[in-house]
Every structure is written in C-alpha cells, then in structure tokens.
C-alpha cells in the first residue's frame, strides 16, 4: 500500500479549500491575502482577459448575515466611484453558495511598507493629501470608512493612492446595526480586550476598527455618534505614522495638524477631511496652518523659507553689485 506524504496531503487540503469558480467568467490564479471577512485571490477575467482581485467569503455563514455584509461592502464600493477607491467590477455567488465580488487588482505597496530612506516627507504628504481627497469624497457620499490605517492604503506603481478595505464602512444617517458592512478584521480591536469588552456588550453593537487608529467615541462603541470627525481622528493617526521614521524631523505645524485631528474631544478636531487636507496644502505651500498659531518670528521664518530662492537671488545680486562698486571706486 502506498501512503500519501504529508506534503501531498497538505496540497490536497489546500486545493480542496480553494473556491470553485466553475460556471463563472473567472479563473483563480493565487491567494493574495485576507480581509475583514473574506479571502482575496488574484484571478483572471476570462472574457475581458484581465487580472482581477476576487474577494470571497471565507467564514461559515449559516445565517447568511456575512454574505449579506460582503455584498453590502460591494454595494458601498460600487457607489463610491473615485480614483482613490478600488472599483468593483462584478458580484455573484459561487456554485458552493459562497458570495464573492470582483474588483480591480491593485499592484503596489501598502502605506505601512513605505521606505524611510526613499519616501521623503514631501512624498508622504502628497500621498496623505490623496487620502484626504478620497475620504472626503466618501463622506460626501455619506459613507464613513471606520477602519482607516496604513495597512488599508495602497500606493500603486504609478503613484496612485487607493483607500482599501471598506468592510466595516458605515452609511451615515442609517441604522448602524444594519449598515456596517462587516465585522472587524484580524488586526481590529480584540474582542478579548477587557477595556473594550463592556462596549462589545452595549446595545449599539460591536466595536469596529483598529486600536490606535480608531477615535475614542468609536472605541466606546457609540456608533450613533460617529461622523466624519471619527475618520478624521484615524487620519490624524495615519499622519502621525507617516511623520515617523523620517530622515528629517518633521516640522512642528505637521505635528500640530496630527494632534488637532486626534483631539480626544471631537469638537476640537477638523470638521472634515477636506479641512485637514487644506491645512496640509497650506503647509506644503508655505502658508500658515490653522492648527499651529505662529508668533512674529515664526511668521518671518516661514515667509523667508517660502521665498528663499528669490531672497538668495537678490542677496547674490547685492553681493555682486557691492563688489562692482568697490571695483569702480579703485
């Protein structure tokens, strides 16, 4: 009798665990990762002959609630047509009953994999501005992301910035229980955390998000109190993350922007992602930042830095002119 090797058995197990896309237009290529409630595979659209990312429900789902949530995530993505949000191409059900949706396959690197040596402060702030634009767009469409963090931002090969994983997004002005798109992901707030255990039992439902990036009101499970400022808090945490591991020490106005965004009292935060993005733009343009009051000396220093090239040119002229005057007088 021939026995199967452990390796062969594990291969068979892996093969049997793969979703069966027979009867669909997609062909499975490889597993690329896992999200909030599903696994993401690289697939090929055999009709259009292009690569796609396929997100498939990967949890036992007797009630059908998770399937509904995955579909809801697809619906939310579909209503957010924006260059900073990965487009959904298709959604459906496999032969085994599992729900899936197909989206654009994004190649690039996650924001938490930025290179401290290569990615300058300017690069990081440009990326952050794109995130602000995208989140502001989602807010304008009445959608809160609720799990903004560096792991959920992809920077593409051509500089495109995409906010990913809208699995726990919330539609504003709707029943929070019905419209949160899914459970927290593997990095999200741990249910076993004693400080959060009580909130998990509240009438408002589960705590969704990631510790360190979620706002205090989100951590307390006050779902009905969440608004754009909750995502602004998470963006402040992302900005703080981007300001770390830099070759140069970030300027004080930038730290002030992050602090304002992460104010414990949400009244002290930026009112919107747009307002936060505008402060970043002001910093990049050498204009005053609302989060950082300046004294006269700092105003002069900022002005001098903003016009440093012109100042150097004028000084060069004056030096050369002085030398010419001395020469003429000889």
């Amino acid at each position: 009798m021939n026995w199967l090797s452990d390796e062969a058995i594990s291969r068979l197990q892996a093969a049997s665990a793969l979703p069966d896309f027979a009867g669909t237009r997609y062909r499975l290529v490889e597993r690329v990762g896992s999200g909030g409630m599903g696994v993401v595979y690289l697939g090929e659209d055999t009709v259009l002959r292009r690569r796609v990312a396929l997100k498939i429900l990967d949890f036992p789902d007797a009630s059908g609630e998770l399937a509904a949530r995955l579909l809801r995530e697809a619906h939310i993505l579909a209503r957010l047509e924006h260059p900073g949000i990965v487009p959904v191409h298709d959604a459906g059900t496999l032969a085994d009953g599992r729900v899936f949706y197909a989206m654009k396959f994004v190649e690039g690197r996650r924001l938490d994999h930025l290179d401290a040596g290569k990615d300058t402060l300017f690069d990081r702030l440009r990326i952050f501005q794109r995130i602000c634009d995208t989140v502001a767009f989602a807010h304008a469409r009445g959608v809160l992301h609720r799990d903004l963090k560096p792991e959920n931002v992809m920077v593409g090969s051509f500089g495109e910035v995409l906010v990913m994983d809208w699995g726990v997004a919330k539609i504003l002005g709707s029943n929070p229980e019905n419209h949160s798109a899914g459970p927290r992901d593997e990095n999200a707030a741990p249910a076993g955390d004693p400080s959060l255990a009580a909130t998990l039992e509240t009438a408002h439902g589960a705590v969704l998000g990631t510790i360190g990036y979620m706002s205090p009101e989100q951590a307390r499970g006050e779902i009905e109190n969440l608004d754009a400022r909750s995502d602004v808090f998470s963006m402040g945490a992302i900005l703080q993350y981007l300001l770390m591991n830099l070759v140069v020490i970030p300027a004080r106005p930038l730290s002030a922007i992050a602090r304002k965004a992460m104010a414990t009292d949400r009244e002290g935060r930026y009112i919107s992602a747009i307002a936060m993005g505008q402060d970043i733009a002001c910093y990049l343009d050498g204009r005053p930042v609302s989060a950082y009051p300046e004294n006269t000396l700092r105003k002069i220093a900022r002005w001098a830095f903003r016009y440093r090239v012109a100042i150097v040119l004028v000084l060069t002229y004056l030096v050369v002119r002085a030398l010419l005057l001395l020469w003429f007088r000889r």
Binding site: G84, A310, L313, Y317, R321
Partner: protein, 118 residues
C-alpha cells in the same frame, strides 16, 4: 506663480536695488529718485520680456543668454540717454537680466492650464 509674474516681481525688486546703489556715486546722488524709478521700470520691462521668453523656451542656457542680452540692451539705452557711465550702468543691468533669466527658467509655472488633481 507664473514665469511672467515671477520675472516681473524679481526684475522690479532687483531694479529698485540697482537704482538705490547709485547713492554710492556722489555725482548722481541728487537724482536718486529718478534713477530708482527708471531702473525699476527697466527691471520690470526686462523681467516681463525674460518671463515671456521662459514661457516659450525651456532652456536654462538660452534663458540666461536671453536675460543677459535683454538686461544689457535696456541698460545700453539708459546709458546712451545719460551720455556716459556705460560700464557702470550696463554691467549691473546685465547682471539683473542674467539673474532673472536664470530664475524664470528654474522657477515659476509655465502658465499653461494643467488638469486638476484627482
């Protein structure tokens, strides 16, 4: 800031300084105001011309050469009207043109419309 505006402002500022340095020449000190106004106008005209050139031609050597030529030419006219001081007027004038030529090639937007950021 577009290249023409950049050239105008820088040319104007350098023109002011150019005129003010005539204070160090006692023979013309009494005409200081006239000289400052004249050299400011000269700097502005040179700056605008050099700025337009920079918008059309994207070349640092050509920009510097054009700036130097315009600066020298305008200064020559001024010196010619003064019937003298050619060297004292043309050398700083050329220097202003050279600096503005360099600056407008290196800095300032071309002024053409660009697609908005997405």
């Amino acid at each position: 800031m577009n290249k023409v505006a950049y050239g105008l402002i820088l040319g104007g500022i350098l023109g002011i300084f150019d005129g003010l340095t005539s204070w160090f020449t006692p023979e013309v000190r009494s005409q200081l105001l006239t000289i400052v106004v004249g050299s400011t106008i000269k700097g502005i005209v040179a700056g605008v011309l050099i700025g337009f050139f920079a918008r059309k031609v994207n070349s640092l050597p050509l920009g510097i050469l054009f700036g130097l030529s315009v600066g020298l030419l305008l200064a020559f006219f001024v010196a010619h009207m003064q019937h003298g001081y050619y060297f004292e007027i043309m050398l700083p004038g050329g220097l202003v043109g050279l600096i503005v030529g360099y600056a407008t090639q290196k800095y300032g937007s071309s002024g053409h419309s660009t697609p908005s950021r997405v």
